[in-house]
């Protein structure tokens, strides 16, 4: 089930939305529909789907960021703001965190959560498209995108846009589902994704289709090595990645030259 295809090479006007081929201009709207539907229960579902392990994946990503006080961090597809809240503490009052998401519903949930956690003052929320980031060149110290890149229509364009706004020496961290390194784990993971996950989506969020899309979009996302090449093609140097939980998730790191 894992084929790691990129946008349809035979038809440049279409792209994938899960396993479906859709016109490129429609993907954004369809992805927005999925996240509008799951926004209110996104964190609960993440905890249920990953048995809480997503917190460990994010914690390691945070360590890799090596963010220091006074720096500017952009968290793209930041959703409900869990990473942004932690970055806010790391950069301190002299630093700046931008929580960005294309989806208005997710951003609203994120903004409310951050306020509830008391994380404010150095956090700004911005609704924007990862393919055309509305920030000046060489202005950000660190960019993170956690479980968001696979939903972007043109991933190469998004990576180039991130490279443009990063300061030289700044780093990009892409945390995303990837390809398991072990066949047994891959089969178990497929069973879980296509049988159990949609059922959980139906029971908890009353939305089986959205969670089926999540499983399908993971299989369509580039594997570890392909994403590494894409980052290098976008201009990043010293790129590498760490597999986590047997490759179910990988965090890629790239530095702007």
């Amino acid at each position: 089930m894992s084929d790691n295809q990129q946008d349809s090479p035979e038809n440049p006007d279409t792209t994938h939305f899960g396993y479906r081929e859709v016109p490129r201009e429609d993907k954004e709207k369809l992805v927005r529909g999925v996240f509008d539907s799951v926004a209110s229960r996104y964190d609960l579902m993440n905890d249920l789907m990953s048995a809480g392990i997503h917190r460990l994946w994010k914690r390691f990503t945070l360590e890799l960021s090596a963010v220091r006080e006074g720096q500017t961090v952009l968290d793209i597809a930041g959703g409900t703001g869990d990473l942004a809240a932690k970055f806010s503490r790391l950069v301190g009052p002299t630093g700046h965190v931008i929580l960005a998401d294309i989806n208005d519903s997710m951003l609203k949930v994120g903004r409310d959560r951050l306020m509830d956690k008391g994380a404010s003052g150095n956090i700004q929320t911005v609704q924007c498209d990862a393919q055309a980031l509305p920030f000046p060149d060489n202005s950000i110290d660190c960019i993170t995108i956690a479980f968001g890149l696979r939903n972007v229509t043109d991933k190469d364009k998004a990576l180039r846009s991130m490279e443009r706004i990063l300061k030289p020496g700044g780093r990009l961290l892409v945390l995303e589902f990837s390809k398991p390194t072990n066949t047994f784990l891959e089969n178990a993971y497929d069973l879980y994704s296509f049988r159990i996950l949609p059922l959980m989506g139906k029971l908890v969020a009353n939305d089986e289709d959205s969670y089926r899309y999540l499983a399908e979009s993971i299989r369509k996302h580039p594997n570890q090595e392909t994403l590494l090449e894409m980052m290098e093609d976008a201009g990043f140097v010293n790129c590498d990645y760490h597999n986590m939980t047997g490759g179910i998730v990988a965090v890629h790191k790239g530095i702007k030259a």
Binding site: W57, R59, E63, L64, H242, N243, M244, G247
Partner: protein, 214 residues
């Protein structure tokens, strides 16, 4: 690209250890304040077996933050096996354990000893959380009982350890006294050094004989 160990597994272990230590520190205000005075201290811990590296960072809040990956400059770096680290963590005299143990040290040892002592000797105040949960009267009574129980447990454990050691050493004569053992190890070390010196002299002689041959 990916290391030998799954970062998620190591992060899970570190999170559990960190949470336990910080939970303990939250019940020991004096230890937390003392640790807060060491804010910014970064200690690198490199375990050779199993092979894993972690960094302990002391926060200004008096909490300890453990990370699998860190780019911060370290005040102290310690390297050794898991056994060596357990020995250090449980040592009554950490300075002696550092010098005599198998640990390799780089940097300033003072912060490492200070952190070890604060954590291993912290005096937990069980009363505050018990009073918060059960109310003033019941909470206080239970805390007094628990304190007595811990004191008794600590004294009993110390007494048992002392008596067991006396029995093994004096009554059963199962092991030699520590001083006798130390002297024996010292003699073995000296013998090893003499053998090395003798071997060097022999090699030197063999080389000279070889040079004298036409």
């Amino acid at each position: 690209m990916s290391g030998d160990h799954d970062p998620a597994v190591i992060t899970a272990v570190l999170t559990a250890v960190e949470t336990t230590i910080n939970k303990g520190l939250s019940l020991a205000p004096v230890a937390q304040r003392e640790l807060g005075d060491l804010a910014g201290t970064v200690i690198g811990i490199e375990c050779t077996s199993p092979e894993v590296a972690i960094t302990a960072i002391v926060e200004s809040s008096g909490e300890l933050h453990l990370t699998h990956y860190s780019e911060r400059a370290m005040d102290t770096k310690v390297r050794g096996s898991l056994e060596d680290f357990i020995g250090l963590a449980t040592a009554e005299d950490p300075a002696a354990a550092l010098i005599n143990g198998g640990l390799e040290l780089v940097g300033n040892t003072a912060p490492l000893i200070a952190v070890q002592q604060i954590i291993t000797t912290m005096d937990l105040d069980w009363e505050a959380p018990l009073v918060d949960t059960l109310g003033d009267v019941v909470g206080h009574q239970l805390a007094v009982m628990l304190r007595g129980l811990f004191r008794w447990g600590k004294a009993s454990a110390g007494s048992f350890r002392r008596q067991l050691s006396e029995f093994i050493l004096e009554e059963g004569r199962l092991t030699p006294p520590a001083a006798e053992l130390d002297a024996f190890y010292e003699q073995i070390d000296q013998l090893g050094l003499r053998v090395d010196r003798l071997q060097s002299r022999l090699q030197k002689l063999v080389r000279r004989v070889g040079e004298l041959k036409p």
